[in-house]
Symmetry: C2
Subunit: 208 residues, 2 copies
């Protein structure tokens, strides 16, 4: 079983192996959503991808590595979206920024709700997976920095708390929508309600 800490593996150089890696990741996502984390075996992933188990282990150190790759792709996308929002000009009202953050969180989960559900509910947050899935701290720091920039007068401790609340609620509402009612992701109902919750909060927190 081993569970070694993600040892370095061969990197795909030729187009052939790049394709193989892509197939493996795609298969991982498919197996994960259809079988769940526990019943996802490396052999099944390889078979589903149409490659041999040996090839799989050329590029991924272990089962964790497969899932971590998917998770960090998602995390990277989310971070990118948030960065884009926080690059908005300083003149934007806090409401607008919050609205954009909510939208960013929701957009990032529209792609593959079923996969996200498995990731959230079944994948144990330990080892490499823990790091891969620990976005919240990063996002909170980014949001806090941005808030501080827009409201320099506020004490940093206060800003951090507000960032925590914002990030926590956006993530929670997004995930609830993903796991309990994917429809609401489409209709935008969750988005509207999140704003009803967070806009007054941010106005009071930053405003006079």
């Amino acid at each position: 079983m081993a569970t070694r800490t993600a040892s370095p593996r061969k990197r795909p150089l030729q187009g052939r192996s790049k394709h193989t890696v892509a197939m493996i990741l795609e298969a991982t996502a498919r197996v994960l959503t259809s079988h769940g984390y526990d019943r996802t075996t490396t052999n099944l992933v390889a078979e589903t991808a149409g490659v041999s188990i040996g090839s799989l282990y050329e590029y991924f150190p272990n089962k964790e590595g497969l899932v971590a790759a998917l998770a960090s792709a998602h995390v990277a996308e989310l971070v990118a979206r948030v960065d884009a929002v926080l690059a908005l000009p300083c003149e934007e009202t806090p409401r607008a920024v919050v609205a954009a953050l909510v939208r960013a969180g929701l957009e990032a989960h529209r792609v593959a709700p079923a996969l996200h559900k498995v990731l959230v509910e079944q994948v144990p947050r330990i080892g490499a997976l823990a790091d891969a899935m620990a976005v919240s701290a990063v996002l909170q720091a980014k949001i806090a920095a941005d808030l501080q920039r827009r409201a320099p007068a506020l004490p940093p401790a206060r800003v951090r708390m507000v960032a925590l609340v914002l990030e926590t609620c956006i993530e929670a509402l997004t995930h609830r929508a993903v796991v309990e009612a994917p429809d609401w992701l489409e209709t935008g109902e969750i988005e509207r309600e999140a704003l009803r919750l967070l806009e007054p909060y941010i106005e009071r927190a930053l405003g006079p």
Copy 2:
């Protein structure tokens, strides 16, 4: 491995066996917090409890059963606390009810934050565990019913949405505090901030 669906086992009748079961559950909690879910083996639990593995399987159908017992105890406590809050007289303001709900959520997690952290982060929500850990829907229904009682004029769909937001945010903030800053559970800082967020929201939602 099997993973059969929680088959019925012997129930502890004499005081001796009741004590054994208690020891096993206590050991489960200890091993869970110190080793994590994956590294929690039934043999280790039995050893830690000071009983034989055979005795363990007299009372618990499988590994899931152990964890499910802990989880549903926690869930039962939480539900009881929420029920107590919702039994408050109708004259109470919505703010007061929300404050009480926040407090209930936080109180229920003060007992064993480390255990809750493992339960939330590492235990896969599948099979028996899924049921055991699916409180949110139940709580939302209870909260919705109460809100409707206090504001009969509101459309049911709207009430359900508000209940979802309330329950989601309380749980999320509570869990964040548990896993990221158990201190804030004690200081009451999280509680105050949660109210700053939720009181304006509920007033607008129920009010004129």
